[in-house]
């Protein structure tokens, strides 16, 4: 390894200045856009989110949930590929943002779309598989969000916490199936998410089997 690569590597080990606040602000942008655009379209008769702003906003927030799930699961592979170990601590932030977006997605559905029609909400949940699956994904994210604090990790103990947080691999599967089943015919977008998650899962499996093979018998 020549000197320059070595220096780059060393520099990469440390988090760039301002990254943490930048990430927090950037992650809020889609939420601000969604709330502002829907608010303006509904109250002021604009069309930032097109002719059907509530549906558009619902889909927009669902999309961002899946994107944050992708980002969360990408942290570890990116860290392993680049050696940017400082990324690790942002995995929790990204996961919590995924949770925030799924809640906004659900609130848009329940408050603005279905408008708290109790019959519709319960019928959707009881009768419509894609709603059940989406809801299951949301419910799976709740314990993860609740146990994301240092105190909870300590209280649960590392092993138990790790086992619980394997749910993080179930959530994207449920989310992608939910999206896939909700589209009328054109499955291009859910397919892209499926591929994204598949790559991230495959990376982990490949690494695990490589490590198992390398381990002394």
């Amino acid at each position: 390894m020549d000197g320059s690569t070595f220096r780059t590597r060393l520099r990469a080990v440390r988090e760039p200045r301002g990254f943490t606040p930048l990430l927090a602000v950037a992650a809020c942008v889609p939420a601000v856009v969604a709330v502002a655009a829907m608010g303006s379209d509904i109250l002021r008769d604009t069309r930032f989110f097109g002719s059907n702003p509530i549906k558009h906003g619902e889909h927009f927030l669902g999309d961002w949930t899946l994107r944050f799930l992708l980002l969360t699961l990408a942290v570890t592979p990116v860290r392993q590929l680049t050696g940017w170990n400082w990324l690790a601590k942002h995995r929790r932030t990204l996961g919590l943002f995924a949770f925030a977006y799924v809640m906004l997605h659900w609130l848009t559905y329940a408050l603005l779309d279905v408008q708290l029609d109790w019959g519709d909400l319960t019928k959707d949940l009881a009768k419509r598989p894609y709603i059940m699956i989406g809801m299951a994904g949301l419910v799976c994210m709740m314990p993860l969000a609740l146990t994301s604090t240092k105190g909870m990790i300590r209280r649960l103990g590392g092993a138990r916490w790790n086992r619980l947080h394997r749910l993080a691999y179930v959530v994207p599967v449920l989310g992608t199936i939910h999206f896939w089943m909700s589209v009328k015919k054109d499955v291009t977008e859910p397919l892209l998410y499926a591929l994204g998650f598949a790559v991230l899962f495959a990376w982990r499996l490949a690494r695990r089997s490589r490590r198992a093979a390398a381990a002394p018998a």
């Binding site: 655009a37 303006s40 509904i42 069309r47 097109g50 002719s51 959707d124 054109d186």
Partner: protein, 314 residues
């Protein structure tokens, strides 16, 4: 690792031009971001200059039904021949030239023929009619159509006594209709009506909206309008009308028979498998409205389906 592929991004990920152009007011309007943000914005009626007047005789409108703005009627469309997004047709049908256009009328008729569109329309008096429109996706509009009764055309063709159904076909031309290059639906789009439905005085062959020729995204130059049925029955850019003795295929039924039937009458009591049809969102309104049986045309059309199980024949 996550480097998102370019094709993972959708056009909706980029800032829409209108959003960009109105960004200052957008932020101010949102009341979420700080000072120094001023400018004009584009409310729904800002385009009043281009906004054409809704003309025509109202049919079956409820007291609070107002015509949906031109911008929404021509900017929020399902027309998969030009893309699957709601804003795609307005974008990708821009270069479509619906002339010259021939319409073929054939099958079980005494007088079949191929007509230039102008000759096809000439014998009939064009009418302006304001109808309610209900999409199967639970949104709705009120649309001032221009067109001729389908019955006119059929009577001229003189259906034989064996003719029981009418089959309609959309233009198949992937060069001009980019959506047809994908396999998202079986092409060309086909639809059908029972002969009595087709002969019903409400059934329209539309040539325009808002007193103007049909914009491409609305199905230029000729489309079907059946106001008591879900919007997808209103086949667009029609090139062929054929009288047949058996129930014709219809595209959405072929694509997904559990979810879309042949009749597709608007019915608040029969849910779509993935959502309730009891309510609808009128484009431009916040609160949902109850969906009406046969989309509000019950008095005119219910007799067509007397004794039929509408749950089975959805």
């Amino acid at each position: 690792m996550l480097i998102r592929r370019a094709d993972d991004l959708r056009s909706s990920d980029t800032t829409p031009e209108s959003l960009y152009l109105n960004r200052r007011d957008f932020l101010a309007a949102a009341g979420l971001l700080g000072a120094g943000l001023v400018a004009g914005f584009a409310p729904r009626d800002a385009g009043a200059m281009q906004e054409p007047q809704a003309v025509g005789k109202p049919f079956g409108l409820q007291p609070d039904d107002k015509p949906t703005p031109w911008k929404d009627v021509t900017g929020y469309n399902n027309f998969y021949e030009f893309g699957t997004g709601k804003e795609d047709p307005a974008e990708y049908a821009k270069g479509f030239v619906p002339r010259p256009w021939t319409v073929q009328v054939d099958g079980l008729v005494a007088k079949s023929g191929q007509y230039q569109l102008e000759d096809f329309l000439k014998p009939s008096a064009v009418e302006d009619r304001i109808y309610r429109h209900r999409c199967v996706e639970a949104w709705s509009m009120v649309i001032p159509w221009r067109g001729i009764p389908l019955a006119d055309v059929l009577k001229r063709a003189q259906p034989s006594s064996q003719a029981k159904f009418v089959e309609f076909t959309t233009l198949y031309d992937p060069k001009r209709m980019p959506g047809q290059r994908s396999g998202v639906l079986p092409w060309p789009y086909v639809e059908g009506l029972r002969l009595d439905e087709a002969m019903h005085p409400l059934t329209l062959l539309a040539t325009g909206v808002y007193g103007r020729d049909l914009p491409n995204q609305n199905g230029a130059p000729l489309r079907l309008v059946v106001p008591w049925k879900y919007g997808f029955k209103g086949i667009k850019s029609i090139v062929r009308i054929r009288l047949v003795d058996k129930q014709p295929r219809n595209t959405w039924n072929e694509a997904n028979p559990q979810e879309y039937g042949f009749y597709s009458n608007v019915n608040p009591e029969v849910d779509h498998p993935r959502w309730s049809q009891a309510k609808e969102r009128r484009i431009g309104e916040f609160l949902r409205r109850p969906t009406l049986m046969f989309n509000g045309y019950k008095d005119q059309v219910a007799s067509l389906y007397a004794g039929m199980d509408l749950r089975k024949n959805f």
